[in-house]
Symmetry: C2
């Protein structure tokens, strides 16, 4: 049975010693003192560990079933969802006007990591609801907000996102779902949507579907897409749940993982829908959900790596196999634990240094969102807009790789479902795909975000790196181990950007052939920056003689590992990028 | 429904234009003219495509079941096994004295790729039998050979390898299974073995288990291990199947993949066993099977990548999504096919360039085995001994990565089991683990094989690379695109070897911390050498104006991709290796 222990101490270190959230002047951050966030994280952690994690394997084994039109979730899910709802966890960062707790997003992100690590499939029910909440909150009328948000904040009603159709995923311009305007101002929605996470289930009184559809006669392609609120049950004037709407579940998909989440084919048959936002501007409204969802997916990537890592460590300490090459370390046992072996160490250090760097990166991203939402900081918005594909793409690609490495520590037992390591990998796999496959993230990064606002945001990122290096260049403890490798990696990133600038205009393929490599290169530099910041904080604490010295020493040693062993990847990515499109595009399609 | 088309043309190119098997003076190779091997590969390919591949998804969905002590294989497996047996495919390279066809191992390897790609789980029944055949052939008495081999060549009786126990996998010294000597010269075997592939099933009249066990009173550790033949049914004097032996199936493991293969817990309860080879020298005999199995597993790794690649290409050509950045390419359709997009190309080229390089590498390895077995070539034996962990570890790590990349091409559909891409990845995953987890392969490579015979074999490999470069340095078509990158990569490999030599003695951890990186670095250089050889052959054919020019041009373009986009990884691996053990071994176990 896999274990999960919420990394409260490390979350706290990132929040308070690396990002210094309590010193920020972003409204609401003044509440985030260490005692307060620790109390929240401890409570959340208990639910993650004691309520959600024990249901992770149950969800995988039982899956969801469709029985006479009713979707049933695995045993125990409803009770766990009640616990999550009743504790107010689903509305942690929601608007108090609608019953939310009004906490900053960064705290919800920290809590979200523990929930997602404990049970990814389960947490998608609340996660999708949050996305739908945000879209209605940002684009809904006062009446729509009053009708839907209070119930969604509490997850009495859950939400979904309906984008994909059988013949179109990324290319939503091909969409066929139609919305016929009715005399009463509502629309009749007809069409089929697939891959709808949390599409239907037996845990809430209503499901509020946000559905992209085309109003006949509107512009072609994505410019003619509108967004609609389509409740499973219509809502009576008094706010109570009314008649069943014309939406039904066609089937539940058989997936590689996240079996605990009901991924549905949804059929809309003249279902009543209400326009959300403006006609034909549905893509913009959808992106409110989508950008949030992409950050949430990045978090899923490293959260699965975290829980897989924890189990790999346990196994490596317990399993006795072979002797240390430098001499017996466990003379009373028949063999030494796996953890004495250098290649097992190398594997575990890859995981540890990735997860901790990713955590800092994701939480830093969350502070940028707060700065934008709470303080109207346009620069922060530009930066997180640039970073979103990196957080989504890099953290899920690497997060999946790390679950595979964690599984490897178990040898043959890793391949047996009973041990749970296969599930972490199978669940993590989807994060590379949904909310825009990672190739699409890379395209978004290189094809759109880099040049956004005249390249201002990527320049701002480079300035961040440069000024951090400059401010700290007198810090001997950081120089060789952190600042120098960060500077080298950052130069590789700039060189890649330069290659795109010089070649992308005359041959867009030359830039896009390097898009995935660029996303990874960028991710490494971000984690390098995070590690440099964390090492600085840890060193400062050590110098001051405050706190748990062993924790800070471990932090610095782990950062050194990342800088020495992971950052050298930037040169490889740059070499690939610099090779351009010639070999990538050389073959005719028939030659494959 | 996934497709599989045996790559007969490419196998033939490798055999006859790159390795030039028909020109070799290894006994038996004179038979391998192009018409003959093509006929064999075409026939094998038909069975792979028409008989085995259609059962791949069936095996995954049904799995094997244990019913009152009887293991049942998925529907259709027995009939397919009959087709394989009746065609003589199970004994292709077996000794004619025992009913085999006596073909070189290189041809059996080429056939094996197609079988393994078509249905990995199914082919393990014959594969394990072949390994057991080889061990009995090499170490059995004349009587043992006469009793068992003819039935195993035809797979009327199948075979297994029994090494692992619940508490020991890699560290076989901890083994508990006992073999008590009996007065009649036989032994009573008692103990439990786990993860026994093809451990029992309903497709053969008998199962011949090769079981490692300790004879009480023997030396401690691995030096006290002996190997035994333990048939499921005892064999009567007339060779017919007799009484049931004391071996039974405890359970069938629930695995991440290869569901079509019955991975069993085997219980031995005073089962009658016959010593194979010498008392206490069981490890040596086992390695006859093990080395063969490791090459077979390397082949599984790239074979799964091949079939996954084929399907990814089909999907990328069929699925219409988005428009080419350089202008519409499919004006009559609602969108362009995925294959126009640079990042999809990058993904497919990664796969294609890996698989074709891996194929050449595996078949080259098979020629070394033939040279050793058929011509007593000790140098060839040294080289393949060095290469075995690289073939196993590198081809399965990368092969799995490529199945994941192939799955990614499908977007959301890749995660749905129905499309079959998940199965390729889940099946390929085991190849990184069994027959020695890849970390153990890396340890074998760096800790044992590098220094074997005074480092003679690695020097021989470097000489091979150097002389290839030297012989061809006047070839302008090869120089910049192939020879220069190969030289650079090979220098990285030598530098890594030098680092190990200078540091490994005084600090073994410094070498072993870089073992996995070294295995990958070595693998890239091997594939680089293969690509240089293939490019030379293709260029020669183009210059001569013979054959299918488009095929040769594609070959060269694919090779250029590998050299430009994959070989830069060697510098990253070297940088990691050069960082030594400091950061890898920095933490106390408690700090993880």
């Amino acid at each position: 049975m896999p274990v999960y222990n919420p990394p409260v101490k490390d979350l706290s270190f990132v929040l308070h010693e690396t990002l210094n959230v309590h010193e920020s002047d972003v409204p609401g951050y003044d509440e985030l003192d260490r005692d307060f966030t620790s109390a929240i994280l401890e409570e959340a952690g208990k639910i993650a560990r004691d309520v959600m994690a024990p249901l992770n394997a149950v969800g995988d084994q039982e899956g969801c079933t469709l029985d006479n039109g009713v979707v049933r979730t695995p045993k125990g899910f409803k009770e766990a969802f009640d616990t999550q709802r009743e504790g107010g966890w689903t509305g942690l960062d929601c608007d108090p006007e609608y019953g939310g707790q009004g906490m900053p997003y960064v705290l919800a992100t920290a809590v979200g990591e523990t929930f997602s690590a404990a049970n990814m499939a389960f947490n998608m029910y609340a996660g999708l609801t949050h996305g739908a909440y945000s879209a209605i909150h940002a684009h809904g009328t006062d009446e729509q907000k009053a009708t839907f948000l209070p119930k969604m904040v509490t997850c009495e009603w859950t939400g979904t996102m309906n984008l994909t159709e059988p013949h179109c995923g990324t290319d939503l311009g091909l969409m066929r779902t139609k919305a016929e305007p009715q005399d009463d101002g509502s629309y009749k929605i007809s069409g089929q949507k697939i891959f709808i996470s949390a599409g239907d289930h037996d845990m809430s009184d209503n499901v509020i579907h946000l559905v992209l559809a085309k109003i006949p006669g509107g512009p072609e392609g994505v410019k003619g897409i509108s967004l609609f609120i389509v409740p499973k049950f219509l809502v009576n004037e008094d706010g109570s749940v009314g008649a069943r709407n014309g939406v039904s579940v066609g089937s539940i998909e058989e997936k590689m993982g996240i079996h605990g989440n009901s991924t549905c084919v949804m059929n809309y048959d003249e279902a009543t829908g209400y326009l959300l936002g403006t006609e034909h501007k549905g893509m913009r409204a959808m992106f409110t959900m989508m950008n949030e969802a992409r950050l949430g997916v990045g978090l899923q990537g490293y959260a699965q790596a975290e829980v897989a890592y924890q189990n790999a460590v346990e196994y490596a300490k317990d399993r006795l196999q072979g002797r240390a090459v430098t001499g017996v370390e466990n003379p009373d046992g028949p063999a030494d634990p796996l953890i004495v072996h250098p290649d097992i160490r190398r594997n575990l250090m890859d995981q540890k240094s990735f997860v901790e760097g990713a955590r800092a990166f994701a939480l830093w991203g969350a502070t940028l969102i707060d700065a934008h939402h709470r303080a109207g900081d346009a620069d922060a918005n530009g930066l997180i807009s640039l970073m979103t594909p990196v957080i989504k793409g890099f953290l899920t690609d690497k997060g999946f790789d790390m679950t595979i490495q964690a599984q490897q520590v178990y040898g043959g037992h890793g391949y047996i479902e009973e041990w749970g390591m296969s599930q972490f990998a199978r669940d993590a796999r989807i994060a590379m795909i949904y909310e825009g496959a990672n190739g699409v993230q890379a395209l978004d990064l290189v094809g759109r975000k880099l040049a956004q606002d005249g390249g201002k945001h990527v320049m701002a990122f480079f300035d961040l790196v440069k000024s951090f290096i400059k401010e700290n260049e007198g810090n001997e403890a950081l120089k060789a181990d952190f600042l120098d490798p960060l500077k080298a990696a950052s130069k590789d990133l700039q060189a890649a950007g330069m290659f795109f600038m010089q070649n992308g205009m005359k041959n867009p393929n030359a830039a896009l052939s390097g898009s995935t490599d660029f996303m990874h290169l960028f991710g490494h530099v971000c984690l390098g920056l995070m590690w440099a910041r964390m090492a600085k904080a840890a060193q400062a604490a050590l110098d001051a003689g405050t706190g748990d010295a062993a924790f800070y020493e471990t932090k610095i040693a782990t950062g050194r590992y990342y800088m020495q062993r992971q950052l050298p990847a930037t040169a490889m990515h740059l070499a690939r990028i610099n090779s351009g499109a010639d070999t990538v595009m050389a073959l005719d399609a028939e030659a494959f």
